[in-house]
């Protein structure tokens, strides 16, 4: 096979994070090349670089020998690179034909040639085997699967040589996936190279030709045959580098602090029940979109639920009252720290004391001196850097911003911490520090629930792990014996599930 796309030694450094650290990728014309790796392994950054949406720090990208390293979307597009992102970038108010030709409309002079666009759109849809899709239909009213077809027709409306598909099957039902694969085969038969990203490892053998595995921003295996088994793939995806990051801690288990019973918010969250004890770290694993953040938000009263109950220290919380959840001792550190957790132009002190102004004030007035004392004590205990309580939160690194949110709940003396991806966007070195802090808090008797996409983090750090898939808890694993493979199997539904664990609801009798 002749190389269509040649990526060599690609490096992409964002402030504070090295997203890509030497990636190689070869895609031949007419092949489906599967790209796999954990969340955060660098897949998205890689395709952004290839599509020209991000400029690489070092390395080369060549398509047919032509250099694409400049990082301009226009260059990539005109060279024949088309990308279908996870979040489909269609305009819902426009018709199918309008969407397909968006940005390169067919025209007669300054006027749109609607008839020609409609006709050509029809031809493209026929080529994709979806002649029944009406070019005049409004895209916003189409099913997700049809929207995907429109995206692909748009890619084809330009002279596409390389098609990048980011988790195209994530939103599709099995029959729709079959139809999608049929379309992909038509494209490759016409000589188009396809980069296919999917978390559903079982799809790879059906559609792929070769596989490249990324881990921690590096290519750890390239050009494996698509027949490679799921187990070796998972081994390659996981790696072993994280272990030394986790602190040794004395596990103490106290009373049940947080009890969740039948909490449900269809279709995002199926009835979920579990308990967390004082001193326990409960990990929640699963793929992005499996309902993990939704679970945390439902517990904290941030989203409406249809049934179920949350109680802290034996006392039930009213629904949809985040203020009362906070008062009862639940503290949330959201995944989107900057947009949901912090006031970036506020000082560290103000960010940390916002939940405790009644206690730290005098009557209706605030007491900056008392705030400063209370905040500084916790900021020092967590070793927030820089040690300048008046510094604005926006000037801190990701790890220190995470500590800031945690410090708020320490000032508040919360008994339950709900952490959503606490190490996302935190550099590997700084992660050890975040783990140390969380471990210490558990040691002090806080009950901790931690959503994580890092398998090593779940296995190496958590006392107990719930795995979610499609809005439901599908497995519960004990921290000491859990393996990363087990978590992935539950999360991916690859069939070969171990029989020792309950498949359906996590039971609350444990431990």
């Amino acid at each position: 096979m002749t190389a269509l796309l040649e990526v060599r030694g690609l490096v992409k450094v964002y402030p504070g994070v090295t997203a890509l650290d030497g990636v190689d990728l070869d895609v031949a014309a007419g092949e489906v090349h599967c790209l796999v790796g954990q969340n955060g392994a660098g897949k998205s950054t890689l395709i952004k670089c290839v599509a020209g949406a991000a400029t690489p720090t070092a390395g080369t990208i060549r398509l047919d020998g032509r250099d694409l390293t400049t990082g301009r979307p226009g260059t990539a597009l005109s060279a024949g690179v088309a990308t279908i992102y996870q979040e489909l970038d269609l305009v819902g108010d426009l018709s199918v034909a309008d969407n397909i030709f968006l940005g390169h409309e067919r025209r007669i002079g300054p006027l749109l040639d609607r008839r020609r666009m409609r006709r050509e759109a029809g031809e493209l849809l026929r080529r994709l085997g979806h002649a029944t899709l009406d070019p005049d239909a409004q895209v916003g009213e189409l099913r997700p699967a049809d929207k995907q077809i429109v995206s692909m027709a748009r890619a084809l409306s330009r002279d596409v040589r390389l098609l990048i598909m980011d988790e195209p099957s994530a939103i599709l039902d099995p029959p729709e996936v079959d139809a999608l694969f049929e379309v992909v085969r038509r494209l490759t038969a016409a000589g188009v190279g396809v980069v296919y990203i999917s978390h559903r490892l079982d799809e790879i053998a059906r559609i792929g030709d070769r596989i490249t595995v990324l881990r921690d921003g590096k290519t750890v295996a390239s050009n494996l045959p698509a027949t490679t088994g799921i187990d070796p793939l998972i081994q390659l995806m996981i790696g072993r580098a994280f272990h030394e990051l986790f602190p040794n801690r004395n596990i103490l288990r106290g009373e049940v602090v947080l009890r969740v019973r039948g909490l449900a918010r269809p279709p995002h969250l199926a009835a979920t029940s579990f308990e967390v004890r004082a001193g326990e770290i409960l990990g929640i694993g699963g793929l992005v979109g499996a309902g993990r953040s939704e679970l945390l938000r439902a517990i904290a009263g941030l989203d409406p639920v249809t049934s179920g109950e949350v109680s802290v220290g034996g006392r039930a919380l009213p629904r949809e009252r985040p203020d009362l959840a906070v008062a009862a001792g639940i503290g949330v550190a959201p995944e989107e720290r900057k947009s949901q957790g912090l006031w970036l132009d506020w000082s560290q002190v103000r960010n940390v004391t916002i939940a405790d102004l009644p206690r730290l004030g005098r009557g209706p007035f605030t007491d900056p001196a008392a705030e400063h004392r209370a905040a500084t004590a916790q900021l020092r205990a967590l070793a927030v850097h820089p040690d300048d309580p008046l510094r604005a939160a926006g000037e801190l690194s990701g790890g220190n911003q995470q500590k800031l949110v945690v410090a708020r709940w320490l000032v508040h003396a919360s008994s339950v911490l709900l952490l959503d991806e606490p190490t996302r966007g935190v550099d590997v070195g700084a992660r050890a520090e975040v783990y140390r802090v969380i471990g210490e808090l558990a040691g002090r008797g806080l009950a901790i629930v931690m959503v994580s996409s890092e398998l090593a983090e779940l296995v190496g750090f958590c006392d107990r792990i719930l795995v979610m898939r499609e809005g439901a808890v599908v497995g519960e694993l004990a921290g000491e014996t859990a393996t990363e493979e087990q978590i992935l199997r539950h999360a991916l539904r690859t069939g070969a599930e171990p029989r020792t664990e309950p498949r359906t609801e996590a039971r609350s009798e444990t431990p």
Binding site: A300, D323, V326, P334, S339, W343, I354, P364
Partner: protein, 310 residues
């Protein structure tokens, strides 16, 4: 930090602008401008829009806006003048303030609980409150000559200071105290700066959003009393364009229309800057139409300068 710095910058820069305007006025007009009489007059002229600007600072701090203040001021005065003037000055003042708070609270309910965009909710009140004023008054002003205490507010001085100026200064001071020094003020800024973070931190966002519209209603009611005191009548056509003056003073003062960044001191100097500029232009016999155009130019310029600072 940069954002805070720019609000601070305005707190420092505007007093300099005020000093420059006073020097310029003194050079241009001499004692006609630089006299205690004229300078107090500037404050009296600023008192109505300025009092409302204090409440508007709270609304804009949450990322909201209130376009209805001018209409609400007229409607409140007409309600007070038509139904309660016969019961004396105190009854009139109380009724006027209560009516303005009620209309403001309706805005607050529309924005906080019915989740109507502030621009639209208060635009509706802008139309409706003016309608109320015309309907009750049959489109004629209500004379309030009998209310001595009220007219004294508009005309008399305490320790040589005109009463409207005193009221304005007291409202500014209270506004500063509440916004800068109380828990409530911190919550207002928190909600404006990051609503979701505020919710997650356990702040009840909707009552806070509701309250700022009631606060601007309260300020509008006080402004309405000042205005009727000066005119000795309640008119259904007062307050036209007043929302513009109040919002402009707040924005010039350095408060961000996006919410979360506000300065009451800036608002005070924004009000004074505006009042001085138009006092000077009037003394220079510049036509009111041209003053109106300049008003627009100044607002635009202030927003551009504010954005530069970020």
């Amino acid at each position: 930090m940069t954002a805070r710095r720019s609000a601070r910058a305005q707190e420092i820069a505007l007093p300099l602008v005020v000093v420059a305007l006073i020097i310029a006025g003194t050079i241009l007009k001499g004692s006609v401008f630089f006299s205690t009489a004229n300078l107090w007059n500037v404050l009296v002229q600023a008192s109505v829009a300025g009092t409302i600007a204090v409440g508007m600072t709270f609304v804009i701090a949450t990322g909201g806006i209130d376009l209805a203040v001018g209409s609400v001021m007229a409607a409140a005065a007409i309600v007070g003048g038509h139904y309660f003037a016969s019961a004396g000055s105190a009854a009139f003042m109380l009724a006027t303030v209560v009516a303005a708070v009620v209309l403001g609270a309706i805005n607050g309910i529309a924005v906080a609980w019915l989740r109507i965009v502030p621009f639209v909710a208060t635009l509706a009140m802008f139309a409706a409150a003016r309608g109320i004023a015309h309907l009750i008054s049959h489109q004629t002003p209500v004379a309030l000559y009998g209310l001595d205490a009220l007219t004294r507010i508009g005309s008399q001085r305490v320790l040589g200071i005109p009463i409207p100026a005193i009221v304005f200064l007291v409202v500014v001071a209270l506004g500063w105290l509440v916004l800068d020094r109380t828990r409530y003020g911190r919550y207002v800024i928190a909600v404006g700066g990051n609503r979701e973070a505020a919710r997650i931190a356990g702040i009840r966002v909707r009552p806070i959003v509701f309250s700022v519209y009631a606060v601007v209603g309260l300020c509008t009611g006080i402004a309405s009393v000042l205005q009727t005191g000066q005119l000795a009548s309640a008119s259904p056509v007062v307050g036209l364009g007043l929302e513009l003056d109040a919002i402009a003073a707040v924005v010039i003062g350095g408060t961000s229309l996006a919410g979360g960044r506000c300065t009451m001191i800036g608002t005070f100097f924004g009000v004074i800057t505006f009042a001085l500029v138009f006092n000077l232009l009037t003394l220079e016999n510049v036509e009111s139409q041209i003053q109106q155009i300049l008003r627009g130019v100044i607002i635009l310029g202030a927003v551009v300068v504010q954005r530069r600072g970020h």
